[in-house]
């Protein structure tokens, strides 16, 4: 029997959680998107969790969980933050990322305390120049280091499978490094 592990994506509205799970999942996803009633810059918003699943390799399948990063969903955070194989914080590219909300979310998930491999996925990078991407990635890297987290920032295009796979690949390499 193959192993099954949980990989979570947490992030703000529009950061790309539903998209990356749709892109990666090999099964029909659990979709909880509803039409937004306030202007959030997009038509649909996820109400609960997103769920999808992929066979990562011959011996391991990954359950992909997407959870909203807003504090009012913290009841879902508690549930999802159990026995995680990996945690990904998705942040939509912007010239000046809002790190206050990110701090709150990370304080709750606390991947250092739980010993969970953690990466930050910087999304929507296909829409901006490489130079801008690396400047913002640097800001986020020092933000993570300030929070005593590994400063791993992975630029990702959630619409592209190959690019999205970089996240589970990287987390897997963190597991391998731990095993040595």
């Amino acid at each position: 029997m193959s192993d099954y592990q949980k990989l979570a994506f947490v992030g703000d509205v529009g950061s790309g959680k539903s998209t990356i799970i749709r892109t990666l999942s090999e099964i029909e996803v659990v979709d909880t998107d509803k039409r937004a009633t306030v202007d959030i810059g997009k038509e649909f918003t996820t109400i609960g969790i997103d769920y999808g699943r992929i066979n990562f390799n011959d011996s391991m399948a990954l359950g992909l969980y997407g959870v909203p990063g807003q504090k009012r969903y913290s009841l879902l955070w508690e549930h999802v933050n159990k026995s995680l194989w990996g945690l990904t914080l998705l942040v939509k590219f912007s010239g000046a990322p809002n790190t206050v909300d990110l701090s709150e979310c990370l304080r709750f998930f606390d991947p250092v305390k739980t010993g969970t491999p953690f990466v930050l996925g910087l999304t929507h990078v296909d829409e901006v120049s490489n130079k801008n991407v690396s400047a913002v990635a640097d800001i986020l890297k020092s933000f993570l280091l300030d929070h005593e987290l590994p400063g791993v920032v992975i630029p990702v295009n959630c619409l592209d499978r190959k690019s999205s796979m970089m996240i589970p690949y990287f987390i897997n390499s963190m597991h391998n490094a731990k095993a040595i």
Binding site: I27, G48, Y51, R53, G63, Y65, H79, K82
Partner: protein
Amino acid sequence: MLNQSKTVFNGIKKLSIPLINQFVEANFEVIMASVCTEDGFVIHHRNSEKCDLEGDKMAAITSTLISIAEASVQSIASGKLRVTIVESDSANLFVIRTLVHETAIVLGVAVSRKISIGQSLFITNRLSNALESL
């Protein structure tokens, strides 16, 4: 999963497989029965011939439903959650928290609407009690 919890997990799995399988075989209107851990790892999942549900996905759904239901109960009342029922026009889903050898697990049972909610709940509770007395 930790090694210690893996042993417990495998023990529960071995015990619950025959019970779950018998339950689905004996109750014609049951569409699916599954048990999983509270954090969403499938212990055993059994579909009837009528459906083709995916075990890991059902575990993610039932464990999430029950965690939200429990949080809801805590916010509206001080009591304990008994069962989470999802009613649809073709089938109903019942999710119950059960203890097997002192480990909390989540039992999910989907039953066709051809039998009533009361009857479905009765057989689901009976299965839950059988799991508890393993």
